[in-house]
Amino acid sequence: MKIKIKDFCIRCGICVTLYPELYDMDYVEDMVRVKIDEIPPTQMEKARQSIKDCSVTAIYLMK
């Protein structure tokens, strides 16, 4: 499973603040980046929680 971010992400940075191990703010490209490729089982719970915490439900999981 991979984390994906839809283009209507408002760059509020909630995911970056709460889950710095999963997300990063790219100030040059002006977007949020996912730091990992395949989600390791140890991070799965955090990844799922980050979907719930997103303000605009822009985060989703893809196989």
Binding site: I10, I14, L18, D53, S55, V56
Partner: protein, 513 residues
């Protein structure tokens, strides 16, 4: 002016600049009336500062409420507000909650007098003065950790698209097109740097404020500006609360270029503890309980170590901001002792802030230590008052004097200086002593373009510029009058004036040109 590199040519009835509450309301209203609409958005995502609010105030939809709200508002601004615009707002705003609900936005009318729903009522603020039985508050349902505004904008964008509205992201508007005195379109710049030439029957500017334009901030507030996204402030600085939005007054400058009058311009300043660990990339993210402590009406002093207000005005925020702006170094320090810290942790807060409605706090000292470890220069913990004064750069002798006087008022249960309610008189006696330094910031700015009651933009001679309309924060100066630094009604005003602009544009397009 002809742009030679124009590669994209669009012809529409209405061009709307900005996708916040005002821009989306104008675009949807115009599209519902049958107009072909394009919306230009500078950022790659919609909403701007409208992603931030949790809800908005409105005037109830009956004649008695409308007349009372009009009267209270005009009286409160000493008739310095534009009466026609105030009337238009008052008459239209009551329809907005239903209009949004019908669009599929989840709204909830909240009781403003319930502290559980609306926090502790704020005294001394123009915004709340009129909030009596003629007004309502419409909460917006939020998702995740965000605020309701973000959900509202998301739904509005979807609605606009179903109506055939074209939204161009990462495409800032650059210049307005003019034929004679009439506005006939706008030039935008696409992601790739090419020009988008838009011929439009009318243009609605809804590009909000100039939070991030150092020259304008200096000119209209006297503040020096720091671009530091962590809000690392030095004395006299202003920090930008929404570093994510690139609000540089674009629409205001474009309107000025075609002869629009400036009207009133101000900055509704809000006090905040700056620095890492307190505020995130968007101001709704509460990273620390400090955000709630700074709402409490305990002892506040300036850098001379002197009190300067009845601290009960703090939940009003805007009056508190204006007071702090007049202190040396344009900052203030909130001081409390161990007893008050325990009071906050065990008995609970004295003032509930409805945006972050925590009632009791936990491990305040640990939270403050965390901020200090992150390099925050505005959070202080000390064993003695002298040390607190030294850390915070306050004159220690004068601070001792102020605290002695203040403790005396606490003992007598009577604030002989500023008449604070005795229940908030909490002495500063028991170590440790805690301090938070507060600076001013802003969620948005007010005004910049003068309009009439139909939101038609006016020239310095008071003539209408045909085809040019403005809505939202950039015209709130006309609604606030001399209270332009008070940020009256900004979100409800944005959506409502967007609706008004949309309707005015439809009327204008029907007329033979």
């Amino acid at each position: 002016m002809e742009h030679l590199n124009a590669i994209e040519h669009i012809k529409v009835d209405v061009a709307v600049l900005g996708t916040g509450g005002a821009g989306m309301a104008a675009a949807i209203t115009a599209a519902e009336g049958g107009a072909k609409v394009v919306v230009l958005e500078k950022r790659p995502f919609p909403g701007g500062a409208s992603n931030t609010p949790v809800g908005f105030g409105f005037v109830k939809n009956d004649k008695i409420s409308q007349n009372k709200a009009f009267d209270v508002h005009m009286d409160g601004t000493l008739w310095t507000a534009n009466a026609d615009l105030v009337r238009a707002f008052v008459n239209m705003s009551g329809e907005v909650p239903d209009w949004l609900t019908n669009m599929g936005i989840q709204t909830e009318i909240r009781n403003q007098t319930s502290p559980a729903m609306f926090g502790t009522p704020a005294p001394g603020s123009g915004r709340y003065r009129a909030a009596s039985d003629n007004q309502g508050y419409c909460g917006l349902k939020a998702m995740g950790r965000g605020h309701g505004g973000a959900q509202m904008i998301k739904t509005m964008v979807a609605k606009a698209r179903t109506l055939g509205v074209d939204i161009l992201f990462s495409t800032p508007a650059k210049n307005l097109l003019k034929a004679g005195s009439r506005i006939t379109g706008v030039y935008g710049e696409s992601k790739t740097g090419s020009t988008v030439h838009i011929d439009a029957g009318a243009v609605v500017i809804a590009t909000a404020g100039f939070n991030e334009d150092p020259e304008m901030i200096k000119k209209y507030s006297g503040y020096d500006f720091t671009l530091d996204r962590y809000g690392n402030c030095e004395e006299g600085d202003y920090f930008n609360l929404c570093p994510n939005l690139r609000l540089t007054g674009d629409g205001i400058k474009m309107a000025w270029e075609v002869g629009a009058d400036k009207g009133r311009i101000g900055i509704p300043i809000w006090p905040h503890v700056p620095g890492p660990g307190v505020i995130g990339n968007m101001p709704w993210i509460m990273l620390s309980q400090v955000r709630i402590i700074q709402e409490q009406p305990y002892l506040w002093v300036n850098q001379y170590g002197r009190r300067f207000m009845n601290e009960e005005v703090i939940p009003g925020r805007l009056p508190a901001g204006n007071l702090i702006a007049r202190q040396p170094g344009k900052c203030a320090i909130l001081i409390f002792d161990d007893n008050t810290k325990k009071h906050l942790e065990q008995e609970g807060v004295d003032k509930i802030y409805f945006i972050f409605p925590a009632k009791t706090l936990t491990d305040i000292e640990g939270d403050m230590h965390k901020l200090i470890a992150q390099g925050n220069k505005h959070v202080f913990i000390a064993e003695t008052l002298e040390d607190l004064a030294r850390q915070a750069g306050i004159n220690p002798v004068s601070l001792q004097q102020t605290v002695a006087e203040y403790n005396h008022y606490c003992e007598n249960g009577c604030d002989d200086q500023y008449a604070k309610d005795p229940k908030y008189l909490r002495p500063v006696t028991n170590p440790k002593f805690y301090g938070l330094r507060v600076f001013n910031t802003a969620y948005g700015t007010s005004g910049g373009i003068k309009v009439n009651g139909k939101t038609e933009v006016l020239t310095t001679e008071g003539k209408v510029i045909p085809g040019l309309y403005a809505a939202g924060d950039i015209i709130v100066g006309e609604y606030s009058g001399d209270l332009v630094n008070q940020g009256l009604q900004s979100f409800g005003f944005a959506i409502t004036t967007g609706r008004i602009a949309g309707n005015s544009v439809l009327d204008y397009l029907k007329k033979p040109q």
